[in-house]
């Protein structure tokens, strides 16, 4: 009885001590994230991090901005409209070539989701089969620039003569591919491939990664200024984001549930298929989620240089990406 009394007193004494640290919790850091495209499963890791309170735990109040074909994510960063953005690596390099101080702090899709598809019975199974064929891969918009880019890089790398190849603009609805006027079309493993396979079409997949073109897809980018002035915020943001992605990969069904709150297209099956398709790109079975490699970046730089997409002046001092924050999160592995 007495010991219980003492225990209660101890509880009572510690209670004010517990409640008092309400002390100076600083107001949360407001952060705006510019996404690459419309809200969809492609960004589910961000949504999971927000919904599970990982940003809040890091004292960050986050706001997501939708992307689109008319939105230049890099500009959003440079104009400080957003503090972080999801940007394709080639855009990072191109902007860097233009001396914009962008810095990749992590990668979401470590393998490119870009793939070239032909009909299963077409006999087109590798790039050397593209000769004399019509290929839908051209595109000017920021979001689909990587189709043309990777196509050209691949053909250059394989030293295939493109004079006999008819290049036509990429059509997100695949009308030409479906009616047979287009032999090969670029697509995303996480998008068009799912739609087309859903229609029961047998496809041959020609992945640039198998032909010397190893591109990352979505990278998490901020400005050099941010990393220098608010390194702690950058660290906290990346940590919370990767934790969200880890959960999304570990629990896809839950990730779909959360994505459905944000997604513009409220098609659960579509979002689920997209999630399933993207998981292997996030988790390759080789490294931790978000991890980057110098060789991968160098390879991308070389491909862009070969196509004269970026000027030869781009510094090779690796100042377009930083491992600082990833190493702080994961250690040096």
């Amino acid at each position: 009885m007495q010991s219980r009394f003492i225990f209660l007193i101890m509880i009572a004494m510690t209670f004010p001590a517990c409640s008092s640290p309400k002390k100076d919790v600083p107001p949360p850091d407001h952060v705006i994230v510019q996404l690459k495209w419309k809200h969809q499963a492609q960004f589910s890791g961000f949504y999971v991090a927000e919904e599970k309170g990982y940003y809040r735990n890091e004292n960050i109040a986050v706001q997501f901005l939708e992307g689109g074909s008319d939105i230049d994510c890099a500009s959003a960063l440079i104009s400080t409209q957003a503090q972080f953005a999801v940007i394709a690596p080639e855009d990072v390099l191109i902007k860097r070539g233009e001396n914009y101080p962008l810095l990749a702090i992590g990668v979401i899709y470590r393998r490119s989701a870009v793939v070239f598809i032909s009909h299963g019975d077409s006999g087109i199974v590798r790039p050397s089969d593209f000769k004399g064929k019509t290929i839908a891969t051209l595109g000017a918009g920021g979001a689909v620039r990587d189709f043309e880019l990777q196509f050209k890089a691949m053909m250059t790398h394989l030293d295939i003569d493109m004079t006999t190849i008819s290049l036509v603009p990429y059509d997100p609805e695949y009308k030409g591919f479906i009616d047979g006027s287009v032999d090969v079309t670029a697509s995303y493993l996480t998008g068009g491939v799912i739609l087309l396979e859903k229609q029961g079409r047998a496809l041959n997949l020609i992945w640039p990664g198998d032909y010397g073109v190893n591109f990352y897809s979505d990278t998490i980018v901020t400005t050099r200024e941010m990393t220098e002035q608010k390194p702690d915020l950058v660290f906290r943001f990346l940590k919370a984001t990767l934790k969200g992605w880890r959960d999304a990969v570990g629990g896809p069904a839950n990730a779909v549930d959360i994505t459905m709150k944000y997604a513009e297209v409220k098609d659960r099956k579509l979002q689920t298929a997209m999630t399933d398709a993207m998981l292997p790109l996030v988790n390759t079975g080789e490294d931790q989620i978000g991890w980057m490699k110098g060789d991968d970046w160098h390879g991308m730089v070389n491909l862009l240089l070969n196509q004269n997409i970026i000027p030869a002046t781009i510094p090779d001092t690796d100042d377009y990406y930083t491992m600082t924050f990833l190493k702080k999160i994961y250690g040096n592995n």
Binding site: V115, D210, Y211, G250, L279, P280, N283, G285, Q288
Partner: protein, 622 residues
Amino acid sequence: MSKLLLVLFVISLLPVVIMSFLSYSQARDAIYKRTINHLLSINQLKKMEIENWIHVNCTTLEILSGNPFLINEFTRYIRVKDHKENADLEYVSIPFVKCLMPVVNAGHFLEIFILDKDTGQVLISTDSRQERKYLDNRPFFLKGKEGTFVSSVNYSMTLREPAMNISTPLKDHHGQLIAILGGRVNLSPLSKIMESTSELSQSLDTYLVNSFNFFVTEPRFGDHYALRKSVHTKGVDLAMAQKSGVDFYNDYRDVPVIGAYEWIPEREFCLMTEIDQQEAFEPILTLKRNTMGLGAVVCFALILVSWASSRGLKHSLDRLIRCTQEIGRGNLDFKADIRTKDEIGELSDAFVLMAGQLKDTLVSKHDLEKEVEERKKVNFELQEALRELGQSNKSLEQFAYVASHDLQEPLRMVSSYTQLLQERYDSLLDEKGKKYIYYAVDGAARMQKLINDLLDFSRVTTRGQPFNITSSQEALDMALLNLSSAIIESGATVANDPLPQVKADKTQMALLFQNLISNAIKFRGQDSPRIEVSAEEDGHFWRFTVKDNGIGIDSTYKDKIFIIFQRLHTRQEYPGTGIGLAICKRIVERHGGNIWFESAIGKGTVFYFTIEKGELIDAQEK
């Protein structure tokens, strides 16, 4: 009652509870150990099987790489490749595929391929779709140049499934590297290895997790999890920290499991073997249920037994308490009526016995008290009677003395004057007058005699002397002296033994002898009286004997002869008033003794009397 019940219950229950707890905890520990050992041994077994499986795959590939036909054909292929067109190359590659296909058909590999040692391009593959790809950034290309290399399991973008590659250098006869021989491993045996023990249990689950927390093989309760789903359980985290052991945690389904985890550094895998706690603990739960059920039954039985026995005990005790109360109130006939054969029964019997004995004791006490009362009463009455008797005797003696003494004077007057009448007027009287005067004189004379005798009789007590040590011989001598004339006249002989000292009134002692000897002489028969006097000891007394040879006495008169003035004969036969023996009796009684006789008609008489011993009285007085 409830206290007794509780105590009985607790005492009975305590061993049951302790025994149940001990056996349960021991069994639980045994089940824990068995489960844990089982999981650990499965892990060990799996680890060995995985290593063996990888070793077989490596060896298969290495044997293939040393195949002389393959080396010769490939050397030829290189030469053609360096000089000819692709069409020819395909033609040349056909023998390779024929050479490689048996290995694929054997099931170890899904695909065998040869990479260009410089560009990493797939030159030849059993899956023609894979040819011309550049795999120069793959670890199995880079490491495969140096020796046999086993890649981790990773996701193949084009195959869209997990893949694992083994590579080994392909060298010519001079030992020069000419290509890298690679094989995409068929992972289904690995899954089978993992699944093989799962049939034995409802939830036993064995799977591999890579160093990035992704499933490598399909877990039991997952579909398409391999390299698509990550797992962040406590067990996996511990294995990631390069530890091995067993722990309790929630698995990838968030179900509580017991998991054995092991980090395999060579392959960078976590080997996980888990079983649902519910299944693992089912025997424990069953045991717990059984133990608790048994405990409840025992408990219930104990309550019943305790209740019954305490009820019986209470009934018996109540009876005993009632019994003691009744006995306390004096109801000694109350029966406890307990017929049990236990200690209570014995106690009850003891109570009954005690009550019985108490009753006897009280009855005897009551009787004794009653008797004492009666005796007291009798004693009191006796004392009263004695006192009255004493007083009466005293009054009587006084009366006798006074009467005899005071009567003498008028009697003497009557006697004297009648004698004067007889002497002076004898001549004046006729015969009848003379006769009448004679009767009056004679009567007066007899009356005088009677009064004198009565006076003597009363004087025994009223004029008695105090008792002194007296020689009975001297007393006898005095008596004989007084009777000397009668003795001589009758010619009697008196003999005596030496007579003892007694404590007595000497005069009365002499009178006693005198009366007895005088009677012996008086009531003599035809022969001369022969009288013998003797004495002998009889306890505290001397018993004296006076024996004669007289006429004897009819024993029917034995009481009558000691009564005053009682006569057995007429005055004419034997003169006397009949006072002699009455005086004797009174003297003996005064001395505390007794007097009696033995006689028969004509046979003489023996008088006995007892007198206290003078010496003894002396000694007592001293």
